[in-house]
Symmetry: C2
Subunit: 133 residues, 2 copies
DNA sequence: ATTAGTGCAAATCGTTTGCACCCAG
DNA sequence: CTGGGTGCAAACGATTTGCACTAAT
């Protein structure tokens, strides 16, 4: 017998969510996405938006970052390890790689006797457009 | 006249919270701290624990990190800029400084036209003690 | 037919706030 | 005295879940 055939179905609502995400150039909250879908005429329940996003995150096709307030922002992103440079105002996101930083983090951790190391790095700022207002 | 004389009073409950925090060697959630205080016989309301922690954070005497689940962990810490190496199991925390990383972050941001740069870096792992179980 | 997916409402969860009472200065 | 502090209960905001219904395969 097959271990666990996770048959993921293709539905209209998932398509709508994916389509919207692909148009985004920055991160958005589940609620924002839900509202945008509504305005655009796509009928998708908030619950489904959450479930779809979670699915994408688990699959590694999207990633979520938590705002200081606790709200999560989602975005599609590459599957390779990387970090984000996020605009505080518009949410625009730039993926950045930093081999040196990765090494630094692992080094610091092992130096202190830690194993199973992982890390979180987020850089926030105001992008040129938003700075120009 | 004085601008805003924020007269912070010294109360029994604030003392209890501070005392507990000083005994901690790692980060704890507000709820955990509240429970620990209760077990120790100190009568402090959960609300007060939250308010006191927020006060400490604002004053820069403590800092908070958000767990993937959205829950915040608090700990007393030095006022200088630094990052944390946290044990996933026991919450033990080690403050780490990384001048090079700070520079890297600022560099990446400005290279992309971002201003008002700030960042968040957290390193997670399993400390020696917990690894040994 | 099967069974995953959907959506609404109700339930969680951590955290915040309104408000009447209390105590440090 | 007086305004900051406290605590309980109610309010909150984001996210999750129970459940009956709909639709993809």
């Amino acid at each position: 017998m097959k271990p666990t055939p996770p048959a993921t179905r293709s539905t209209r609502q998932r398509g709508e969510v994916m389509a919207l995400l692909q148009e985004m150039d920055g991160a958005r909250s589940a609620q924002q996405l839900h509202m945008m879908l509504r305005e655009r005429g796509a009928k998708v329940g908030l619950t489904t938006v959450y479930r779809t996003l979670q699915l994408l995150v688990d699959a590694g096709d999207a990633d979520a970052t938590r705002l200081p307030g606790g709200e999560q922002l989602f975005r599609l992103c590459s599957r390779t390890h990387h970090h984000h440079l996020v605009c505080r105002d518009c949410g625009k996101t730039v993926e950045v790689a930093g081999p040196a930083v990765e090494r630094w983090a692992d080094q610091v951790a092992t130096d202190n006797g830690f194993t199973d190391v992982s890390h979180t790095i987020e850089i926030f700022g105001t992008c040129r457009d938003c700075a120009a207002r």
